[in-house]
Symmetry: none
Subunit: 414 residues, 2 copies
């Protein structure tokens, strides 16, 4: 099996605020063609350490991938230092400069002179075009080893890796493929999920199973290795089905889909429409729903009703409901979803009202208290949650619970 | 100034699902006493690579910190490999075994024999007690350098570092402190910012300046080191002011504040209110504004008007505007912000309508075309952008441009 090392370059990745995340995506990709990542290094804009790191990596590993440090400014040193590490010259690439000038003209600007630095490439390297940015990548073959150099922004690096480097590495990786599948589970904790499914995955030792906790859901990762991709996929499909049967409706995705994609597909399949009324989530649910391209087929509109006045004005929530029960109550949540459904003439409406914190909690309704309302063809109902966590976490958990409540209501109707 | 390297040990940290995060906390701690982190390595349970990594780190850096690999099982190799890397023996530490047996008895269990491995320590190392787990840490002084070895779980590592290692390093760090400041810039590219401010920061070589591109803005990071924290802060304040003067209103934050915090503070200071009408951003602007705790003081409400029907119904946009100019037009953007301001009775209203993609673009209005409307005390206006990037990026850039447009309008009024 081929081994790989990943080097993330940039002094900002050595601060307390930021770290490398590209390597997670790259590892998943490399694993999928049977390549194992053995070491990761994060190094700053420090010529000596970077040169040593690249040199050592090429001694130890078959594949070395660097990300970052290809920008136009002086602290972007990857080009010259990697050339030095492999003992080659940097050469000026005229077509690249022309291409850069054209790109800047397309943005209605003249190319600043410092961007000329981005037209230098390592002698003998294959130039990897970057459709999403001004820094090209490079691929070098050195005595049967590979050095691949990418810009840091994920949206630039990822398509370049997939198009130009993955196929080359796959050809050299000896034919073992790794299949991977992710199930997503809502409304259950990590240990509860494990208790239910441990007997199932332990009976299937040729699949590597791990249970991971993300901020709003539990993920079950299944991994199988085989020389026959179809066989690995079939093994995963069978295990995935057994796990889904055991967990029931708590499993909302068996192929890594997000909650907003799952809900969107349910609505699109039925030709039904949705509207949303948000208080403490402030637009987060609308944002998540509209992240899905084509969501205009089913998403009509949303109201972010942060003040009491706006709950009355925009949704027709009666003043006495707000006075008698408070803005954070089952009654208000239900009046919000019913008002939204009626005004927007949608098939379904969901609403959220709660206390995201850090202030505003009381003994009776502590921070994290959230009411979710639903109005649909069969009427209006609501559910209460008390979420642990800080403001951001409470808001994300509330948005997930609202979308999951909608999902369960739609499934119940069918 | 002392330099440090951090080595995270464990094969699970080389999977696509997990990565080292201990180093972020450690970096913050080390920076606070003037120690700079120059390199981070993540290495698996691989004896050869780990030994080489520790040896190289001790050659390059004054302080080497490892986390992980101290458990009782066979894949926990940090003890024996770090001993080998520094050329010392592992010695059996009787009091540690007694302590471990006691600890297990406290949990009502007999110590498994395998845990005896945790009673071996590197010859000459100071043993660092672990009140929260069974793996002790170690601190070695080697020719004026330090090797500190910790277990991986943050709740074990952190108190051990603070109690036993931080004071020792502080004594040796010469009393230098590091100050850090982040300026944020909107509406300019990375190279344009660099062209303007390079002469300024180059005249100030005792401050380390780096220019970073994030998805919606440019960040200018300033770092100064000094024995006198007040002096370092003063140097940064002066440079920050010079850069702000040169870039003008494009600098929206000089202390790392986010755009939504800056806009919120402008509104709160003036006692003024805001409402938002969003089409292609789908709730993102509302979500960002309400991420700020206390935003209910100035944020009244938002409307996510995804369909044409909802633009008319919820905001009173006239049908003939939509028919004559299209939903993505200056006229619609202005009608949206004017409608929102009137209905919500806010002091300011902003609106966004555009084509986020991937579909829906035309020759005349390609994907990325976004109109932003503003209505305030002096009337209504709008501005057009064509943003590069995919759906997510267009939406984020549109949300940033809208908040920035609002910011500039408020500043113009005062």
């Amino acid at each position: 099996m081929l081994s790989a090392e990943i080097i993330a370059i940039g002094s900002e990745l050595l601060t307390p605020q930021r770290t490398d995340t590209n390597s997670l995506w790259l590892t998943e990709r490399l694993n999928s063609i049977g390549v194992e990542v053995r070491l990761k290094t994060i190094v700053g804009d420090d010529a000596g350490r970077l040169e040593e790191t690249i040199r050592d990596a090429l001694k130890r590993s078959d594949i070395v991938i660097t990300t970052g440090g290809l920008g136009p400014t002086e602290d972007d040193i990857t080009r010259q230092i990697s050339a030095r590490a492999v003992g080659r010259e940097l050469v000026y690439h005229n077509p690249l400069e022309a291409d850069l000038r054209e790109r800047f003209r397309g943005w209605g600007r003249e190319m600043p002179e410092i961007n000329k630095r981005q037209a230098f490439v390592i002698d003998g390297a294959e130039v990897l075009p970057n459709p999403n940015g001004s820094a090209v990548g490079m691929l070098l073959k050195l005595d049967g080893k590979f050095l691949a150099i990418f810009p840091g922004p994920p949206r630039e690096m990822r398509p370049m890796f997939d198009e130009f480097v993955l196929p080359v590495l796959k050809e050299n990786s000896g034919g073992v493929t790794v299949s991977h599948r992710v199930l997503r589970v809502s409304g259950m904790g990590e240990s509860a999920v494990d208790e239910v499914i441990a007997p199932i995955y332990k009976a299937c030792p040729n699949v590597e199973t791990s249970i991971l906790f993300s901020r709003v859901e539990i993920e079950v990762h299944l991994t199988a290795r085989s020389e026959d991709a179809d066989e690995a996929d079939a093994v995963l499909a069978e295990l995935s089905e057994k796990i889904s049967d055991a967990l029931g409706h708590a499993v909302f995705a068996t192929n890594g889909e997000t909650m907003e994609e799952v809900v969107g597909r349910l609505l699109a399949d039925r030709g039904e429409t949705l509207s949303v009324a948000e208080s403490c989530t402030g637009g987060l649910i609308g944002m998540r729903l509209t992240e899905v391209a084509g969501s205009s087929r089913y998403f009509l509109e949303g109201a972010v009703v942060y003040s009491n006045g706006s709950k009355m004005r925009a949704l027709g929530v009666a003043e006495n409901i707000l006075v008698d029960h408070g803005a954070v109550s089952a009654e208000t949540a239900e009046a919000m979803s019913a008002g939204m459904k009626g005004l927007s003439v949608s098939d379904h409406a969901i609403s959220v009202t709660g206390i995201a914190g850090p202030d505003g909690g009381t003994d009776e309704k502590p921070v994290g208290t959230v009411y979710i309302g639903y109005s649909g063809p069969k009427g209006t109902r609501s559910v209460k949650f008390v979420f642990p966590g800080d403001r951001e976490l409470v808001r994300w958990r509330a948005s997930q619970a609202a979308l999951d409540y909608l999902r369960r209501q739609i499934l119940k109707l069918s």
